[in-house]
């Protein structure tokens, strides 16, 4: 099928985009990379009357480091995140997570902002940004605000953005040297959406104790979730095989899985357990290998 007819605007500044959003509100959709929006339009699952193509807002495309943080413009392409030496050095889990998104041609177009705002709980960026405690900077008619993942993601394909607001930047903290990390996921084929995706960060002490653990899961609830009980279990501990087993079981309990075409609810839940364990193993073995 083909998309419905729509009015097309190509604002060149955020201010102009917000002005148009204020005017058209729910009738308008923002076109960034288009890798989720255009399929939806091609199948007429979505029929926006107005499309705001923000690809011309060039100053939303950047990756920069300031202090202890990386600032990433919303229009930054996924492929640029994947290949950025700065991201690889300062936040390698982000580059790794992005490498699981679709295929190169998809990542060449898809943007960090578009993926986060689309808020598919089984996609990689929401999961990894949830693990990194990323901060989403949003601009609207009355100014800007910053949202934490738990404020930003509301449910399936839904964020707390107002109709006249636009996501402009994502801020993440750079990872200290002593960070063990991994991103693992279960898919039927390379490039598919994750049945389960797990992002793991372990902030380690010199004596081998894990000071703080963060585990985020995608594909197992209406939003990406943090496995808080599992994180508590691991924080302040030397991570043993027994703790890894327990953490997997705790994380599975935190899920709210539902059956779909790819997997039953029970299977998804059990895979959450397995992949949290795998994620911990991979994070620790990479960390030990890198020392």
């Amino acid at each position: 099928m083909k998309p419905n007819a729509f009015e097309y605007f190509a604002p060149s500044t955020v201010k102009e985009a917000v002005g148009l959003l204020e005017k058209y509100e729910d009738e308008a959709k923002i076109l960034a990379g288009g890798q989720s929006l255009v399929p939806i339009m091609n199948f007429r699952l979505g029929r926006p009357e107005v499309l705001l193509d923000i690809n011309g807002i060039k100053d939303l495309d950047y990756i920069k480091e300031e202090g202890e943080a990386l600032f990433i413009g919303a229009l930054t392409r996924e492929r640029d995140l994947e290949l950025s030496p700065l991201v690889k050095e300062k936040c390698p889990i982000l580059a790794e997570a992005v490498s699981f998104i679709g295929h190169v041609p998809i990542r060449n177009r898809g943007t960090i902002g578009g993926s986060l705002v689309h808020a598919d709980p089984s996609s990689e960026l929401p999961t990894v940004i949830c693990c990194l405690n990323g901060e989403m900077k949003v601009v609207g008619p009355s100014g800007e605000r910053a949202l934490a993942p738990e404020e930003f993601f509301l449910t399936y394909l839904t964020t707390s953005l107002e109709p006249s607001e636009i996501l402009v930047e994502v801020r993440i903290l750079t990872l200290p040297k002593n960070t063990a990390w991994s991103f693992v996921e279960l898919t039927r084929r390379s490039g598919d959406f994750a049945i389960v995706g797990v992002a793991t960060l372990l902030f380690m002490e010199d004596d081998g104790v894990c000071r703080e653990a963060r585990i985020a899961l995608g594909g197992v609830a209406p939003t990406p979730i943090r496995a808080e009980e599992a994180e508590e279990l691991l924080s302040g501990q030397v991570i043993t095989e027994e703790l890894i087993k327990k953490a997997g079981a705790e994380a599975a309990e935190a899920t709210e899985t539902e059956p779909d075409y790819h997997a039953s609810a029970e299977y998804r839940k059990d895979m959450a357990r397995v992949f949290v364990q795998r994620g911990l193993h991979e994070a620790l073995s990479r960390f030990k290998g890198g020392k």
Partner: protein, 159 residues
Amino acid sequence: MAERRRIMVKVNGVQYEREVEPRRLLVDFLRDDLELIGTHVGCEHGICGSCTVLFNGRAARSCLMFAVQANGAEVMTVEGLAEDGKLHPIQEAFREHHGLQCGFCTSGMLMASYEFLQDNPDPTEEEVRRSISGVLCRCTGYKQVIDSVMAAAAEMKGR
């Protein structure tokens, strides 16, 4: 109907100026307006990869872009691979190694491989497998496609 837009776009080195409806997909623009029918329309939702072209030098699904977005851009399609009637080494390798049967996915395979070999002129077979994972082929079982890309890499490196 939404107002038509005038766009200027360079395709395979040729500058075109056309009027398009905003909803016109890039792939339909290439095929129906410019009559460059080497690019195929498969799934129309970015899964099959048959419509892959280079957009400003980077592989992209032309079914997931609107023609208006190509205003001022450079596009390369499968028709841009051969020079003066001589097949590109990647095309030559696909012919030599039976990298196609029905040919539906082939332009996507060729364009994805073209970008891939530019970035990675000396790939392993594993990397080649990954590089074509975004293009679905229902004929070959991929074996001959992989052989073709590996042979093309060797040939292009040797030149």
